[in-house]
Amino acid sequence: MPYLPDNQRIVITGVGLTAPGAANLAEFRANLLAGVSGIATIDLRYMGVHPAGICRFAETRYRKKRENSRGTRAGCIGVYCANEALADAGIDFSTYDRAATGVYIGLTEHGTVETENEVYNIGQYGYDVNYWTHHHNPRTVLNNPAGEITMNLGITGPHYSIGAACAAGNAALIQGMQMLRLGEVELALCGGVSECVGSFGIFASFRAQGALAEHEEPTRASRPFDRDRNGIVISEGGCVFTLERLDRALARGAAIYGELTGYAMNSDARDFVLPYGPRQQQCMEAALARAGLQPADITIVNTHATGTRQGDVEECTALRATFAGCANTWINNTKSSIGHAMGAAGVLELAGNLPSFTDNRVHPTINLDNLDPECALPGLVANTPKQLDRVDAILNNSFGMLGINSVVIVERFVAD
């Protein structure tokens, strides 16, 4: 990495998450290494039964049931993840001022679930809008999940959402990193949340697009790179990281998961839904350049691939070009285990790979029974974990609709 003073180096010191099948990083990592899928089914209004990723976590550990009822599912997930991240980092606000703490939460969308529920509700009363809830606006303002976190924790610094389709988790991480470097905040809580399994419209729209996964066994429905993949498994989830400047983290003796050294975002400028490999390649190359790394320096590439026919091929084409000849670069996919957690996807998938810096293992892409020749990348870790001597750098891809691309690079932290 190009030289930076310690007050410009940004490190991850805490992880709080909930994913399908896991309510903390240790459970999540164990599932990923064991190839255990967290996907089950949901029986959704108007849609019937479909594969989906549902999170089970201690919803009332950090706030009361009545606050969960008043707020949103995204807020509930966010509050849980933020508290878990702070606890994991050992931060109790004696070190950091709440007024100098920023909360940046990535969202693919927000308010869809609440609006659908309310339209359904007034439908029970002849569509009389006098029955429309007064909670609608505070639940659906776009800062809602981040705002619920600040109310719960008494954080008086800035909070807002980063709307970036399915690149939102990475985008929030980048925002937190930039705000720390600018000196706008001393501590950043950043990540992403998704409550989209509550929305029939999101399922219906993917189905109308021919991109909703179906499989008689839900645990096998999410199958990126497989010849028989047939779309996306929609999941809810959340992940929040504590980001600190290295000097402050070292001063308080924090445990460091890794150092954020590279990032990039760009736009396809082409299509509403179809991804574009060449721009993804440019995004990866820009992130590598910012980190001062060569492609061969990357040990793990965590792919965005969602299990759609064209999306997976576009990314594989970009990866093949970017990492040609990189014999020690290994490629995996986390969505095969947890589905697509939308705004939480980028950060959850990064979190699931961070323990590689300590266990030196690459979690596998599961459900890869018949590899699509167009996705046959050298280094693809399929179905069983890969043990390495050492993991030095993780490159995390996250792309989204309207042609938004994001790449984050995290390196093993090495003290000077």
Partner: protein
Amino acid sequence: MSRDEIKDVLLEIIADIDEEADFASLDADAPLRDQLDLDSMDFLDIVMELRKRYKLQIPEDEYPQLATLTSCVNYLEPKLQNV
């Protein structure tokens, strides 16, 4: 509905909003919001629930009549006499 039945309905609605609400020492003639952990949004939840259950449209300028448990019962008794 009798006055006691109306009171029970109100307490049930409040308990649905806040399962930790403590009614043991509730003074029926003192403002509810001074005694229970209720804010303006919770108060609107009570109004909405009455609307849903009994199709009651309570005008905003009459909200002050819902300040105490006793004033609530006084206000609602004639409106719910045929329920």
